[in-house]
Each structure stands twice: as structure tokens, then as C-alpha cells.
Subunit: 245 residues, 2 copies
């Protein structure tokens, strides 16, 4: 691709705030968090509408060079290369990409308002069950959650309408044999310490293994299919805050 038409195409896409992907043979000089140089090679340059710029090698996860958002891009043709100068006045960083061959330029106005949601932890599960006990049963009244006892850490602890104690053990992933033995240990110890014979044991998990389910029912306990609640990722929240500046 000729350098001048390439320059015009990139400048037009920048004006329209498009995301731009350039495949090119280039070298990259960078100064800021460190000073670095990478000699000529085929790379992918990504320019985002918020001023983030990434330079990726054909392999590997992390960009070989990058500039944070709010970077300013200036392009000129200099001898045999397209010189792309990216500066960030806030972070005092400069990256100069010299593209000697431009293989392709792809750009588009992408729109994405969604945030990543992470599946919650076991604590999120017990919080959810404590505030919405009907997920376990209409007959369940929670009394405490995440109670540290001398026999361990009870996720949700409560009673049913007959006044029988109920222990709910939350598992984020598939519950296995160890989950059942853990629940059994809690139930046995609560029975012994309170001098009672009836304690309901429930495992709440998005899945349970076949042998764990058999052991669970053999012991007179029950399984409730419940997934942890989703929550927004901290990474996204942090990014949102950074962008607010």
C-alpha cells in the first residue's frame, strides 16, 4: 500500500473516532516508563477511539509496546516510511512507529456499552442466599452467614418452620465428595454440641458430581442447584474510574 493514501486513510478513520487495525512492517521507538526499541518486523498496530494505542507481535498475549488512553497521534511521510508519533502529555510518554510497508488498514465504528461480569465467590453466594432465602426453600429462615464456629466456617445457618436447624454449604463450582464430607462434619458437630438429633444439611452449587450426589442423599442431605451471582469485574470498575479523570 502506498504511504500517502495510507496516511489519508488512517487520518480519516481517526477523525471519525473509529477503531483502526494496521498490519505493517515497522520499527518502534518508545520513551516513558522505560526507553525501548524494536527493529523492523511485521506487527499489528491498534488505535482505539479513546487514544489507546497497542502494538502487537504476531504471537504472545501482551503488546510489545503500548500507549495509554488520551494519547495524541500525528502522522507524516518521512523518507521511506510512514512515521506515526504518539504522545501522551499526561504521562510524558512518546512512541514513534515507523511503518515501512503497510499491508492493510481496517477500521470501523465499534460500540460497546457492556461491562464484564464475573461469576461471584462463595461469599457472594452466601450473601445472596441470606438476603433471598427462598432460593433454598420457602421454608428456610436464615439466622447468620459465614459464621466462624469451632468446627469450621458455616456459609449460611438457619432454621425451617418446624424449628429444625438448617446448614447450607455453598460451592462456586461443581460440588464433589469433599464438599459432602465437609457438610457432614458440620452437621454432626452441630448435632453433638447442641444435643439435638435433627439438622438439615444442604449443598448449594451450580453442579454436583454423581458420586457426591449419591453420598449426599445416602446421608440424608439434599442438593440445591444454585449458581453464584454475577458481579461487575473490579478491573472494569478501575478502568472506569481512571477514564473519569
Amino acid at each position: 500500500m502506498e504511504l500517502y493514501p495510507a496516511m489519508d486513510e488512517i487520518n480519516n478513520a481517526l477523525k471519525k473516532n473509529h477503531i483502526i487495525v494496521i498490519f505493517s512492517n515497522c520499527n518502534v521507538e518508545y520513551s516513558g516508563r522505560a526507553q525501548s526499541f524494536i527493529a523492523k518486523g511485521d506487527r499489528m498496530i491498534i488505535m482505539k477511539h479513546d487514544g489507546t494505542i497497542l502494538v502487537h507481535k504476531p504471537d504472545g498475549r501482551t503488546p510489545v509496546n503500548w500507549m495509554p488512553n488520551k494519547s495524541i497521534i500525528e502522522i507524516k511521510v518521512e523518507n521511506d516510511s510512514l512515521e506515526i508519533t504518539c504522545t501522551n502529555s499526561k504521562t510524558s510518554e512518546v512512541m514513534i512507529i515507523r511503518a515501512f510497508n503497510i499491508y492493510s488498514i481496517t477500521s470501523a465504528p465499534l460500540v460497546d456499552n457492556e461491562q464484564l461480569r464475573l461469576l461471584g465467590t462463595e461469599k457472594d453466594m452466601s450473601d445472596m442466599l441470606y438476603s433471598t432465602p427462598s432460593l433454598i426453600s420457602e421454608d428456610f429462615t436464615p439466622v447468620s452467614r459465614e459464621e466462624q464456629t469451632k468446627y469450621g466456617f458455616l456459609d449460611v445457618f438457619g432454621h425451617n418452620s418446624k424449628g429444625e436447624l438448617v446448614i447450607v454449604e455453598c460451592k462456586r463450582y461443581t460440588a464433589g465428595l469433599d464438599s459432602v464430607t465437609q457438610l457432614r462434619r458440620y452437621v454432626e458437630r452441630v448435632k453433638k454440641s447442641k444435643g439435638i438429633t435433627k439438622v438439615q444439611g444442604i449443598i448449594a452449587a451450580p453442579n454436583i458430581s454423581q458420586n457426591a450426589l449419591k453420598m449426599l442423599t445416602d446421608w440424608g442431605f439434599s442438593y440445591k442447584n444454585i449458581s453464584p451471582p454475577y458481579r461487575f469485574s473490579k478491573e472494569e470498575e478501575k478502568q472506569a474510574k481512571i477514564n473519569e479523570f
Copy 2:
């Protein structure tokens, strides 16, 4: 873009080990380091020849989802979406991308054998000057480097052919007034402690500010234009090691 032709195009590019960039409206489900979900939005999907997969939002530096190298990609058309399943048996991760609209597919056989080189530290500079003293002068013989003295940390310490002591202060970036006063302090203290009157002071740096240069020559010291040596980035070395497995 129709889903079946899109599937064929991606599969062909995967077979050729090309780097592939897909602009699409998609949702992403992930399970591995955590469990996550992001609802429909416009995103950029990057597939690299080493099996690394990145999903980028139109803004921000970090991918919203990613899979490490050696991931396996399987594609099928499922109802109204192109379902791209990425699995990594080594890390037990699974990412499912459901692309409802494919705006563009760009692919190319990029080749990049270059490694990022970071401009060295002041220690790298003093190591370089110690092993190649002619960079300072043909008349310079180094005796020690990075010597911890009671007056501070001498970068390179030596003598000239007349037997006069020489102190070289290395600066990675532009040397300023503080570099000159630091050098002066070292020189004065060495003079005093050894009871001598002649000690040569040299600042080695890739650049020096105008007022620092004036102060330096006023004090009878000199400036040598020397840049720190480049070295390969640790990040790259680490990646190389991971890839060797």
C-alpha cells in the same frame, strides 16, 4: 457478513497460521482463572498463530477476555450466531464467543523475529564503561565500578596516564544541575579524603541541559555523550521461556 462464509474464511486463515482480526457484535462467556460473562457488544477478536486469543473492547488497554497461547479454536454456526469455542487443555480454560454480526475479517501471515530491547540502566552504563573504557577516553583506566563510599555511590572510578584520579558519573537520561552538584560533591570529598588537588570529573549521559553544561565546565569538569546500552526486555525473555515448554 453471512455466518457460513465467515466461518470458512476464519477456518482457512487458521489453517494457514495467519493472524486474524474480526470486528463483530458478540457476547463472551469465560471459565478458568474466574468465570465471567459479557453481554452483546461490538468488539475486536484477535487470533494469533500461537493460539493466543484476545477480545478487545473499542476502548481501554487490556483485553476484556483472553486465552493463553496453545489454545484450540473450534467454530460452528449455532442458530443465529457463529459460536467460536476456544479451549486450553493445559490451563483448563474455556472461552466461548458468540458472534451475532460479523463486520469484517482481516488476516495476514505476519513474521516478526525481532525482540524488544530496553535502554539499559545506569548500572548497565557503568558496566559498559568499565569493560570499554575507551568510550570515555583512550587515557582512562577504570579501577572499580559502582563503589559504595562514605560520600556516596561512585559509578566508575579510575585514573588517567598521569596518575590523576577520574570519577565518571553515569546518567541514563538528560543530565541536569543536580547531576553536576552530585559529581562535584564526590570530587570534593575524594580530594579531601586523599589529600590531593587534582581529580577529573566526567558526566556520561545521552544528553545534558544547557545550564548543567555551563556549571559543569565552570567547575572544570567535562561531559561525554554516551547512551546506555540496549538490552533485551525481561518480559520478552520470560515469554520465550514460557513458550519453550
